[in-house]
């Protein structure tokens, strides 16, 4: 019975994990850049939600929209002004650039908000439900459902809208897309903004679930990365599936080995997975 509880806990994490990975996966797939700022963007979204709740009493679930817009706009500017200059260069160059930017933002946040761990403590929590002996914290369940909605919204945006089709076209063949009249630099800016907005929106949801500080950025980045590899890079359904897989791995792994080994357990699974299925759950072979 206790195992059902662990499975439920894992599923409750899964939606949130899906949303933190979807943005990273999108940017990785389209721009061929792993954005090392992804973790700090999540933390930024969490701070927006935290201060909006503390100062204005806005529920963190509502902060998803302003946090997404705010961080998305900053990210758009960053991509257009800075990152687009080196976007076609080697991995070493793009990774080092996003790492340098990450250092700046991280240091700025440490100075502005200190390294203290924070978390939104709701004054009127939804409480817990008891489903057949399994305890479900309702705020966490709501956060995970909302996160999943965001992930599905991204998927629909890519599938159905003009801008989404343009993003996919650039992903498949940048030169051909450019010949079809798509402004590739603009699409890069928009894609990066969407990825960042999703990260910040996920961060707002996370502010209710996990403690956060500028120091937790790498833990979020690494989770997102592991999910991308598990699910297959660039695939949004893959990110969703990978999110639930990682949620279950962490929940069961924590039960078996203790919370201090969470990353080690996930990493062990990742290594085993790379040996058995290097293209990811829903990915195609041969990605870089």
């Amino acid at each position: 019975m206790i195992y059902l509880q662990y499975v439920a806990n894992g599923i409750l994490l899964g939606g949130i994990y899906a949303s933190i990975a979807a943005g990273l996966s999108l940017v990785w797939g389209v721009l061929n850049i792993v954005n090392l700022m992804h973790g700090i963007l999540i933390v930024a979204g969490a701070y927006v939600a935290f201060f909006a709740y503390q100062m204005l009493g806005i529920h963190p679930f509502l902060s998803v929209i302003p946090a997404g817009i705010l961080v998305g706009l900053c990210a758009y500017a960053l991509q257009m002004v800075v990152i687009n200059r080196v976007v076609a260069q080697s991995i070493l160059v793009t990774l080092t650039l996003t790492f340098g930017l990450d250092l700046i933002v991280n240091n700025g946040m440490l100075l502005a908000f200190t390294a203290d761990y924070r978390r939104v403590v709701l004054q009127n929590p939804l409480g817990v439900a008891n489903v057949l002996g399994i305890i479900v914290p309702l705020d966490r369940a709501a956060a995970t459902v909302l996160a999943l909605v965001l992930t599905v919204a991204l998927w629909l945006l890519l599938k159905t809208t003009r801008i989404g089709r343009a993003i996919i076209a650039v992903r498949f063949d940048r030169d051909a897309a450019s010949l079809m009249g798509i402004n590739v630099a603009q699409i890069y800016g928009i894609t990066f903004a969407i990825g960042a907005a999703l990260a910040a929106a996920a961060g707002s949801l996370i502010s209710v679930v996990f403690p956060f500080s500028p120091l937790t950025e790498y833990s979020f980045l690494f989770k997102a990365f592991i999910i991308c590899i598990l699910g297959g890079v660039g695939s949004i359904p893959g990110a969703a599936l990978g999110g639930f897989v990682l949620g279950l791995i962490e929940s069961l792994g924590t039960a078996a080995f203790g919370p201090e080994h969470a990353l080690t357990v996930s990493f062990g699974v990742l290594i085993a997975f790379l040996l058995l299925r290097p293209q990811g759950l829903l990915g195609r072979a041969g990605f870089e």
Partner: protein
């Protein structure tokens, strides 16, 4: 082999420069010695990174994993009364073997996936060190006893060790560059598929390059542990330790013999300036410098054509 005389002249110039710097360091006070030891450490790390990151073209973003592994290996050997310099060799061996085993799995990845997984490995090792308190002391770290040589004697000893380590890394780099291994790595950096289809055993050579990178990072970590006298998981697995060697090699020139040396020295100058002037914001300022370097000198200072620029300006 027409390039040989130029390389030889350069090597002589570098050796001469080294000798002068070493003489200044040995004659200097403890601050100068500390700076010189740091310079040697940065050089060694830059050379270590250059094997897999430069010659093989695999973007290693987690050299701190091997630095930390070597530091802990060396520190544990030393606290168990293994005499110097054996703990330093142990640091090399431990990281070398660990990378050989790890390489079998993760060198199947390329590009971003390889880069980030190495970043994750450093974090995983830090997590394991933190929780394995019976062996590593956990978060409170390990204190390493200093040899009984007096303050200045100790400073001299560790400078000599770091400098020898860096020199060894340079020599191995030069040897690798001139041998079959260097040629194979050069091919595999250009096009791995093509290299393996003409019969280059790419898996073998990139594993070797990865292990060499890890080994030298490990020996550097072990010497660092004895030098500083205290290590903890947050400082030896620090993500900044992974990024600094990359920036150094990028400044000096990727996959070159002397690039890492100049890059490390240039970076140390920047690093000292930043630390002195911006204690609170040093990582942000460092980030700013990294961004500027990438935007304006993406191929390094070595590739910047000063003469052409000057001619264009004054012609």
């Amino acid at each position: 082999m027409t390039a040989l005389p130029a390389t030889a002249t350069r090597a002589a110039a570098v050796a001469f420069g080294f000798a002068i710097l070493a003489a200044i360091a040995i004659g200097g006070d403890n601050y100068v010695l500390r700076l010189a030891t740091t310079a040697a450490m940065y050089c060694a790390l830059a050379y270590a990174w250059n094997f897999i990151g430069g010659f093989a073209g695999y973007p290693l973003f987690g050299i701190a994993a091997f630095f930390g592994l070597g530091a802990y290996g060396g520190a544990l050997a030393q606290t168990n009364a293994v005499p110097l310099p054996l703990p330093w060799l142990a640091g090399f061996a431990l990281a070398f073997v660990f990378a050989l085993l790890l390489g079998v799995v993760i060198l199947r990845l390329r590009g971003h996936a390889f880069a980030i997984i190495t970043l994750v490995i450093a974090e995983v090792l830090s997590e394991i060190t933190n929780s394995w308190t019976t062996l590593t002391g956990g978060g409170s770290g390990i204190n390493i006893p200093f040899p009984h040589l007096g303050t200045h004697g100790i400073a001299l000893l560790f400078f000599a060790a770091m400098a020898a380590n860096a020199l060894l890394a340079l020599l191995v780099t030069a040897l690798v560059n001139r041998s079959r291994i260097g040629f194979a790595l050069h091919c595999l950096r250009q096009n791995e598929h093509a290299a393996s289809s003409v019969g280059v055993d790419t898996a073998h050579y990139k594993n070797l390059a990865f292990a060499l990178s890890a080994g030298f990072a490990g020996s550097t970590g072990a010497i660092y542990a004895s030098w500083i006298g205290y290590i903890g998981p947050t400082d030896v697995f620090d993500i900044l330790l992974s990024i600094k060697p990359i920036v150094m090699v990028m400044i000096g020139g990727v996959a070159t013999i002397f690039g890492p040396l100049f890059g490390a020295l240039a970076f140390l100058a920047l690093d000292e300036l930043v630390w002195r002037n911006f204690l609170e914001a040093h990582s942000g300022v460092l980030g700013f410098i990294i961004v500027l370097l990438i935007l304006f000198l993406p191929r390094g200072i070595a590739a910047f054509d000063w003469r052409a620029r000057l001619k264009a300006r004054f012609a």
